[in-house]
Symmetry: C2
Subunit: 463 residues, 2 copies
């Protein structure tokens, strides 16, 4: 896996065996590789992707299919013979099947669902009925359950009967006749127990459940904090509906973080890898925010023309505009990213807003003080290099720079830190207060702060 | 877990039982709760945190200790009686112990390691000897191994003997006398097998290994692609050194993403939660980048004064500076975030740079075209609202705006997308080309592009 050498040689072996055109040899070779290596072979040999999936044992084909990227999945389903598609979809675990179907247009989903066996069809329709991003969509109904009156020996019989079809047997679920969840017990405890021990004697009634409508995002936190590889999913009457395994959560967590990062950068969340995304679809994800920001930024021109007279009188003021406003934009982006990230990790909640406000006022003053000092020194010293620009009131001009930077940075930190909290409070996604968004907001107000400070210091002297 | 109500009542129950001052009752209450709930109790009752840890059964105390945040961990270790600290540290799984110790100053680590039992001390020192962020630091040496000549019945004997002390028994490792890894077999296969089956008959030799010096970041990808709950870690001679479980990877993945997000926002990666981080430490993480960006942005003032004559002659040019440069900054931040994120997910590699370049040239032209058109219209129409500012050559001025926006946006997309790739190529962290960094870079060059375009269109007319 970690040796580049291995991968090259698998590809080479594949090329050799394909060249031999010996179907049995190809089949044997493919069934002998790790599923992640087969996935790599599919990516590297697009012409053979359908053949590879067709030749694999059906259970291994399903394992490979579920880990490859959506565009490749779609292409394979489109090009595979109908009989193979049917076989593959039926073999896919219910949760992975739903994960794939929910990305397709409704009409195709309807056709594909028709090809499923009756049992699988019912399960699939049921899972598709849960809201997007809910636990219902990623749970699997394939788990092993036992009753509290069973003995350990009986439990092992049940496991032997159902193990093949279930996603994990690391945790076994105890339910009653109504289907209510009573406990979860780890396989290791059964292995350590005497065969005639009753399940009821092993129960501690201490278990964590996820609700079927719970958001997927919170599940990652629950898994982290509870050291489990699988968690049961119940409805509001505590009826066990399915289980969620930690490997699915690893995918969810990665998805959530990617979306957050993309939003912070000012794009809509992409649902496909960058390179696989059709060009115009990518543009549609990128353009709207840029246009909104651009229209917002048009206000800078209005703000600037409002201060036309001041600019005319003291041209040097104008030279510093990009510097001043960007210092606010940068601090604002920084603060908003920190807060969005801390909220995503549940380190802070809306209730902490006042603590954060106090902290960011202090931070804004210190950071603004540091940058303001640099700005002061720059203006003061530059006046010796280009005296014609700065004229005689260098100290006053330097003060204007320093104080404006302090003000703009303070305002940037406050806007950047409070905006995500406000958005969350209003039930919007805090990650929408992307770095560019905060920067634009602070740009416009930064101009007003700057020229107001200038007016305050220079009125009667230069203005 | 998901009901707010439950949490409130656990806290209330805790307050009641604490008020009773009945040590046995408190102990019983605490041992009855889920570890994540005990962790919440610790956060909400800082005064009792040491008492809570002391009163828990030692194995549960260790489970709670490993999931709480570092600052709380440190405080508890500091305030706990020495005998309890010793007991707790010895009980902690080796990987979690190392994860805690690596955050402490060396002098304290030395003292704490002295308190460990000889066996645990050797293991700990060994793990601490591996490079930071390597698999060696998060693997655990507590796993169950068997030999290929064992029968299934013997395997179960081994499991019963070692299950208590090992992190997982979901996967059992087959080694030879030299300690070389031969295969990994899932517990379900043993349960399904006949007791007198030989291990050698169950082996398929198909297993995935991580190398002890592999980077932790890549492990998350390997877990995702291979559907395992634990993976073996070997040295370069294929000697089995330990295993890594998927729940540890969930923590690593979250850590990596948080660091990426923070860097994109222009802070150094924080190693503590936002609210727990001491004020001045947070400032030290935030200030350096802001100062660097500010100093970079000082160049905007130089660029502006370079075009002093043009500004004096056509004052309206100047009003549009913030608009023009920010359009480049925003597109640049967007492009860099997209590329950083796609690289973090290994969707693209350095080798794709030319494909990305071609794609971003097209994107830049389209996005720049859209924004340029908005800019053109704004300037053209505004000249009717404020004719004194725009003078007579409105069409030319509108063209300047449109073409500059197109140019600046194109440049922003290119700089934003190529910079992370370049940084990665130079072995730097691509996330360092944070949104503010790209924005600053594009601000300075944007001014030059803008005034050059203006000169081209207006020279001989207005300039």
């Amino acid at each position: 896996m970690s040796l580049e050498l291995d991968e090259i040689s698998i590809q080479q072996q594949f090329e050799e065996v394909i060249a031999s055109e010996d179907k049995l040899a190809i089949q044997e070779f493919l069934n002998d590789q790790n599923i992640s290596d087969v996935a790599d072979l599919i990516y590297e040999n697009e012409d053979y992707e359908c053949q590879i999936i067709s030749l694999l044992n059906i259970n291994r084909a399903a394992s490979v299919f579920k880990i490859i990227e959506l565009p490749t999945q779609k292409r394979i389903i489109k090009n595979l013979p109908v009989i193979k598609t049917t076989e593959l979809l039926n073999e896919l675990p219910a949760d992975d099947r739903v994960a794939f179907l929910e990305e397709l247009p409704t009409s195709i989903v309807r056709d594909l669902i028709k090809t499923l066996d009756p049992d699988e069809r019912i399960v699939t329709l049921e899972l598709l009925g849960y809201p997007e991003n809910s636990m219902g969509r990623i749970m699997t109904p394939d788990y092993v359950y036992v009753y509290e009156e069973n003995t350990v020996a009986e439990v092992f019989q049940t496991i032997r009967k159902h193990a093949r079809g279930s996603e994990t047997i690391d945790v076994i679920y105890v339910i009653n006749e109504k289907g209510e969840l009573l406990d979860d017990i780890r396989i290791r405890d059964f292995i350590l127990a005497e065969p005639n021990t009753k399940v009821s004697d092993m129960m501690d009634g201490r278990f964590i459940v996820l609700h079927v409508t719970d958001d997927q995002e919170m599940a990652s936190e629950v898994f982290k904090m509870n050291n489990r590889v699988a968690l049961p999913v119940t409805d509001k009457n505590n009826i066990l509906l399915g289980i969620v395994t930690i490997d699915d959560i690893l995918w969810v967590a990665e998805e959530e973080y990617s979306e957050d990062i993309q939003k912070i950068g000012g794009t809509e969340a992409l649902d496909e890898p960058y390179l696989d995304m059709p060009f115009w679809k990518l543009i549609r994800k990128r353009a709207p925010w840029l246009v909104i920001l651009f229209v917002g930024e048009l206000l800078t021109a209005s703000a600037m023309s409002f201060f036309e007279d001041e600019i005319k009188k003291v041209l040097v003021l104008n030279m510093l505009v990009p510097l001043i406003i960007s210092s606010g934009g940068n601090t604002g982006s920084q603060a908003s990213t920190l807060i969005i990230q801390a909220m995503a990790k549940a380190e802070i909640t809306i209730a902490d807003w006042f603590t954060i406000l106090k902290r960011e006022i202090k931070s804004g003053l210190v950071l603004g003080g540091i940058l303001g000092l640099v700005g002061f020194l720059r203006t003061y010293m530059w006046s010796y290099i280009e005296p014609h620009l700065y004229g005689t009131h260098t100290f006053l001009l330097a003060m204007v720079t320093g104080v404006s930077v302090l003000g703009v940075v303070l305002w940037g930190t406050l806007a950047g830190s409070m905006l995500p909290i406000f958005l969350k409070r209003m039930k919007f996604d805090p990650a929408t207060s992307s770095a560019p968004f905060v920067a634009t907001l602070v740009d416009v107000t930064g101009i007003v702060i700057y020229f107001s400070v200038a007016y305050l210091f220079l009125s009667g002297v230069l203005l």
